[in-house]
Amino acid sequence: MSGASWLQAALAIPYLGALLIIAVLSRHPNLRESASLLTSGALFASVLMVLLAFLRGEPIEARLIELFPGLSIAFHTEPLSILFALLASGLWIVTSVYSIGYMRGLNEKHQTRFYVCFAISLGAAMGIAFAANLLTLFIFYEVLTLATYPLVAHKENEEARMGARVYLMILITTSFVFLLPAIVWTYALAGTLDFRLGGILPRDLDPLITVLLLALFVLGAAKAAVMPVHRWLPAAMVAPTPVSALLHAVAVVKAGVFAIVKVVLYVFGTEMLGQVPAERMLVYLAGFTIVAASLVALRQSNIKRMLAYSTVGQLSYVVLATLVLTSFSEIGAALHIIAHAFGKITLFFTAGAIYVASKKTELSQLRGIGRRMPITMTAFAIGALSMIGVPPTAGFVSKWYIIAGAFQLDDYFVLTVLALSTGLNAAYFLPVIFRAFFREEDQPPAKPHGEAPWPMVAALSTTALLTLLFFFYNGPVVELESGLVGKSR
């Protein structure tokens, strides 16, 4: 099969999986979960085939339909797309295994809706990853928002509804108010919305307009959680942990930063932005987000909320690195998408495991839990170290490249931000690890417990392992990204 056919397969599989789950299997719980696993496996395989075809140098494109005269829903492949798609589909497999343990462990309701929406969300993520123009990106970006709404409101209590409301309102508001006008404006200025390396906007565009447009994109892609449009992330923590893990650590948030990186490289072009000094404003915004988010995370008592704010900060690492516009920083940005995904999903998995095993949700309750759940807390430690950026974890690799990128320009602001945030990350993560392993429990739990159900432990161990492995095996990714970055200059 040609690369293009695999691409079409990858785009269609999640929806077919969703249909399968609805139509045939809502009455057989076991089959439902197997369908989910099957779909994620098939998806990952297809994306892998696309990667292989791409590496062979095949041109891979697909076109769905012409929506407006001159504007179609179209797809292409390039290094970033494949990266994102592989990441999302691969981690979906792990999350499916995890979900089995989670849903069974808590005896959750509405599981069909859960799995179906999950599948559609992943389908949307694929659409975003492989989008060949801004229109296609926008369409699937919105589908992602809508498909994840029922997942956030899943528990159906007042808290979940409120959280889902905030989630939806912020994402849709930013999409409609910032992103859509930005896209239409781009169309009016450039005459096309296709992604082209080096940008599609006219070179002589007024610098003020350039910055304005860029700002609209950065704020419009609110899934990247740059402040002040970040509040949806902590609000979304009312969702079940598998949702928080895959979607709000991997699919949704990475879709946001992916969109920004894609826009910077393929709509504006690093050269053009490099000549606009006012672009620094957005660098400062990203830097501010990193530090502010870390400070807020410091003050959180709920585990998931702390992780949410940590995510906000980590995402802005990617935005910061992208906007610094040096070759190393661009590579660092791409690497961080992967590194953060591995680390964060591990952390969320552990949070969910702790909840299922002991019903604990607050950081203060974690004293001594390392003895009861050693595997889980070790994974937590690995994820935390990756967030801080300590070798031998994935986080170290990406941070290294970002720092190198900053040095290319002697960018002291960025270096300060990086140093400060590393310190702050350590400040809120290390105490947790310490308390878990080296302190006694306040009181023994009502029901003595060990590790969480085995599917959950298997999942979080896998992702922790990936976090470690990426430290050692990141060559191919670096090569892929360097190729891209080289071509874009």
Partner: protein, 490 residues
Amino acid sequence: MIAHNLVALPVVLPLLAAAVAVLLPPGRKPWLLATGIAWLVFAASLALALRALGGEVLSYPMGGWEPPWGIEYRLDAANALLMVLIGAVAAAVFPFAGPSVKRELGEEKSPLFYAALLLFLAGQLGIAVTGDAFNVFVFLEISSLASYTLVASGKDRKALTAAFSYLIIGTVGATFYLIGIGLLYALTGTLNMADLAARIPEVAETRAAHTAFAFIVVGLCMKIALFPLHLWLPNAYTYAPSAVTALLAASSTKVAVYLLIRFVYGIFGADFSYREMPLAWLLIPLAVVGLLSTSLVAIGQNKVKRMLAYSSVAQIGYMVLGIGMASSLGLAAALLHVFNHALMKGALFMALGALVYRVGTSRLHQWRGIGRRMPWTMAAFVAAGLSLIGVPLTVGFVSKWYLVLAAIELGFWPIVAVIVIGSLLAVIYIGRVIEVAWFEKGESDERCEAPLSLLIPTWVLVIANFWFGIDTRLTVGLAELAAQSLGGTP
């Protein structure tokens, strides 16, 4: 013979069928007749639209009297789009009306009810297809009188007062229009639209021409329900039977918008309307205020039917905004939204009718958890609601895209903000319904889905929302063709 007279058939058939319906016994027969006619009319309008897509302008001299002395039926891209729309809406709503009206009103008055429905259809199509300004008035009155009757037939006693205020305001509007036409006739000696367009430039500077323009525009704005002349609409839509509301929402105001476009661009010409007369200064502020204020009011409503009525007024604001922008792209956007909004609101009101069929009311707190009891019906409501919000892959997005593009092209950034804020307000009021229906607990959990006879027509329109949101060749093609032929930029 049929091909030769195809242009007139969509008007003649329902007119005669109305008389036949009166003669039929109460029961199902009038409904079956009406539905059959609606489908025939839809087929005819599709055939005509396909010819118009090729750029052809079809002319039919009524009674064999040649224009400009005789009444001419004239079909170009703009009104071909409208005809297809009315035909499609009728073809979907009439089958829906059978069970819905039977549940809400009973069957004894059905001959008269369906006669009124058919007269309404004939009137709307007549307005769409005619090329004579006075003939427009005749059909305007036919369809309006029929619609007053239809609104008054609602079973709530308030339907009578709603119909009465609708009647008063509607008649005033039609009379203003008539006065305007009279003045134009005195000035130019003709009533044929194409002829008027040719003769008005000579008399453009007279006070009589300005007065005629003012009367016609204001009269039509009453029919359109442009803020602040919209006060008749919420009550009329709320108390009419559900099928009637669906039909009205999807056709009568759209036809009035088309008339406004025809007069402003086609007859008076963009030059006169925007340079000689300050039309943009009138339309844009009113559209903006109307859009925002009625969206806000919609959020506070407890009856979903009333909420959707206010939403309709807001959406009309979008259409008028497109017209007021006085550019070719803005005009195309307005025409697109005429078509798309009819699809959206038609589907929404039909889904509402199906929900009311089972629940008996459209009060939001009675709808708790209804998503689980009537999943298909509620899904239709949600899908149409998404279209209203403007989610990509729906017709709503297509309209929004063109409106924003038109505004950006002219550099009207505040208008972009207004358009976008309007969508957000729509998210709030539609979101409220979705939350209550799906994410709150109802009293029972047993399934009581709406009957297929209601679901199928509703879903046909819902699917049309997505179909035309993805395959935009027909709608965008006709809209752009129409915008060019009507002459956009002054």
